[in-house]
């Protein structure tokens, strides 16, 4: 084949043939490495499907608790419209402030819509009554979206009622006032949300990555054969290989705590015991996840790629970057299976929402379960022979 002078590699002492040789060799190697190839193909497909549908910056289906102090035709119409709206999911209708507060604290609801006594009477009289909206601002992005949405919903909700004799109320500004309370993070500072959450991201990244190469490195260097020739048991290898990293995790936690306190001035409001327990369990879960990867991957390179494959959903589907409750249900289920999702809830509740041990059992339980399942799979996957 004759190539234009520009491509005349012989002048540079290069050869198309050698380049082709290398290129083809790489192609062959790539095809042989089924896992890497699979991940490279699956990555864009899976990630696009997951994140393209799961992530929604226009949050919908935010769980709300309604605190009803009044029961009349207007409030009932308002409630019906809320029900019909895709922005909010009414998870409960309660009559006391305590109950609503508890649900907000536990994360069952992301905000409280509170309709005070005498609302209708004052509305009809044109006294501009208040609707109280208390939003959980420990995640400011989710809270901001919810607040904007609720104002739209209220407008739509009352519109059908403001007809006939009440048509005078169909005006702007509306004949009521929405008073917003940002709870747990009054200034709506995103650092309050991001910094504790970053602890989760950092721990996921490092713990999973370090342990994911623990077995593949042995196989690659040939030391696995010697290890397997000794009477060491799979669970001993697992424990022995992962525990050293608990110390590294503890150091990272310490660094983040110090920076959060002195640099970002984040108040630590909850129980230190709950925090320690939640963090320790989260570190275990990540170590087991990494170890499981190392029983599946055959090379360190594959282990790294698989780690990354887990890492992206941990960022995008855990409630770290986008409101968890705004994702579709199937995406929430995937999120529930990720250790970091539970850890994020635990740190937000403990650091910003004054939570104690009792408040986080809802997330400690799943975290413990995930850890056990991962450890079980890793032990099943461990190859005690070189087959």
């Amino acid at each position: 084949m004759k190539l234009p002078a520009l491509f005349s590699l012989p002048a540079l002492d290069l050869s198309w043939a050698r380049i082709a040789a290398v290129f083809l060799k790489e192609l062959v190697q790539m095809r042989r490495d089924k896992l890497t190839f699979g991940i490279m193909v699956a990555m864009p497909i899976v990630q696009l499907i997951l994140f393209g549908y799961a992530i929604n910056t226009d949050p919908r289906h935010m769980p709300a608790v309604i605190e009803m102090r009044e029961d009349g035709p207007l409030t009932r119409a308002f409630l019906a419209s809320l029900h019909a709206s895709s922005y909010v999911d009414i998870v409960a209708i309660v009559t006391t402030a305590d109950e609503a507060d508890r649900m907000l604290r536990s994360g069952e609801a992301n905000f409280i819509i509170s309709i005070p006594e005498g609302f209708e009477r004052r509305l009809v009289r044109g006294e501009t009554p208040q609707i109280l909206l208390a939003a959980d601002a420990s995640d400011p992005i989710a809270a901001g979206g919810a607040i904007a949405a609720i104002e739209r919903v209220a407008q739509q909700a009352f519109a059908p009622s403001f007809q006939g004799p009440l048509s005078g109320l169909a005006r702007a500004p509306p004949p009521y006032e929405i008073v917003v309370h940002r709870r747990f993070n009054p200034a709506g500072e995103s650092a309050f949300n991001i910094v504790p959450a970053l602890l989760g991201i950092i721990l996921t990244m490092t713990m999973v990555m370090i342990t994911s190469i623990s077995l593949t490195r042995e196989s690659e260097r040939g030391t696995m054969e010697n290890l397997l020739a000794t009477p060491v048991r799979p669970i001993e290898v697992m424990i022995g290989k992962t525990t050293p990293y608990i110390a590294i995790g503890a150091i990272q936690v310490g660094i983040v705590l110090v920076m959060a306190t002195f640099l970002f001035r984040i108040p630590f409001t909850g129980s230190p015991l709950a925090f320690t327990l939640g963090t320790a369990l989260f570190i275990f879960a990540n170590l087991m996840l990494g170890y499981l990867i190392s029983t599946i991957a055959r090379t360190q390179m594959q282990a790294m790629q698989t780690t990354f494959f887990v890492f992206l959903p941990s960022i995008l589907m855990s409630g770290f970057m986008f409101p968890f409750k705004a994702m579709p249900h199937w995406a929430q289920w995937i999120g529930e299976a990720l250790p970091i999702t539970h850890f994020l809830r635990i740190v937000r509740e403990v650091v910003l929402k004054e939570a104690g041990l009792a408040d986080i059992v809802n997330d400690l339980g799943p975290l413990a379960l995930i850890t056990l399942v991962l450890a079980g799979f890793a032990l099943l996957r461990f190859r005690s022979t070189l087959d």
Binding site: E225, N226, A229, T385
Partner: protein, 294 residues
């Protein structure tokens, strides 16, 4: 040596993909024997040894090592067997001492420090104990690997080409060590492709393409094959070699260093051929055919 069989496996078979790498392999090694395992590269020696110590699952066959089932009791076997891998498989980023202590801990040994010290003395590694294993030369790595697989005082040693790529002095030292252990009652299965090492063994099993072709006491092998051999020395040998190769009475001519080996099944025509072709060189026959030619 006693009649008690330490390794007794039959019908071991292993395939990788569609290829049978070890085919219906039997081996019986009595206590205290040094058993040589001979065969060209890729013939299945490593695979067989791995099946014997439980590192690979045979797809057919069964057997016992020290009375324990190779299929179901490999942990019991691993506790009592020392396996030296063909490729150095200790940690290059640990020191000699750290490697030995690691192995000693894995076997749950008491008096760990004393044992490690003893192993270091025994193999002449005491002065180098803090050196990283990765920085050692081939001969020293091999000593370390032997020390590591002896540290738990195993009853059986499985050595996979332990002297490959090692200088002659280190090889001699290594074999001295093996004979010392054998004298203490340790049973050894050692694979090699050096003929001169194979003849130091009490028995030899020869494997090629996964099939065992030969298995007997070393001294009986020439008789068993029915091959006579003459060893021819002197200079210049190249003409003698060509002449012998051209002679139909000689079946095989091979060069061994400064000597030629001429082999054939029929001793009388072979002797005639050697006498006529190798005049001027010195030659001697094999055990059965001790005639000298001068």
């Amino acid at each position: 040596m006693s009649d008690e069989l330490v390794i007794d496996v039959t019908g071991l078979t292993k395939s990788f993909g569609a290829r049978k790498v070890v085919d219906n392999f039997d081996l019986k090694v009595p206590r205290g024997a040094i058993y040589g395992f001979l065969g060209p590269n890729g013939s299945g020696k490593t695979t067989t040894i791995r099946m014997v110590c439980g590192l690979l699952k045979p797809e057919a066959g069964q057997g016992r090592v020290l009375g324990f089932d190779v299929l179901h009791e490999s942990l019991r076997i691993k506790e009592r067997v020392g396996y030296m891998t063909q490729k150095f498989s200790l940690y290059e980023d640990l020191s000699i001492r750290e490697n030995l202590e690691f192995i000693a801990r894995l076997y749950g040994l008491d008096r760990r420090k004393a044992r490690v010290d003893h192993a270091l003395e025994d193999l002449g590694l005491a002065e180098r104990q803090t050196q990283l294993a990765g920085k050692l030369s081939g001969g020293w790595k091999q000593r370390l690997a032997l020390a590591a697989c002896m540290i738990h005082e195993p009853e059986v040693l499985l050595l996979d080409e332990p002297t490959a790529g090692v200088d002659p002095k280190a090889r001699r030292d290594f074999w001295d060590a093996i004979r010392r252990y054998a004298a203490q009652g340790v049973t050894t299965l050692v694979s090699t492709h050096y003929m001169d090492e194979a003849v130091q063994c009490d028995s030899i099993a020869y494997i090629a393409y996964g099939k065992k072709l030969l298995d007997s006491h070393t001294a009986d092998i020439p008789k068993q094959i029915g091959l006579s051999a003459w060893r021819i020395e002197g200079r210049p040998l190249i003409d003698v070699q060509h002449a012998l190769e051209a002679d139909p009475r000689v079946e095989l001519v091979a060069r061994f260093g400064a000597a030629i080996h001429a082999c054939a099944r029929e001793p009388v025509p072979l002797e005639a051929a050697v006498r006529s072709r190798a005049s001027g060189a010195s030659a001697c026959g094999d055990q059965q055919n001790r005639g000298r030619l001068r």
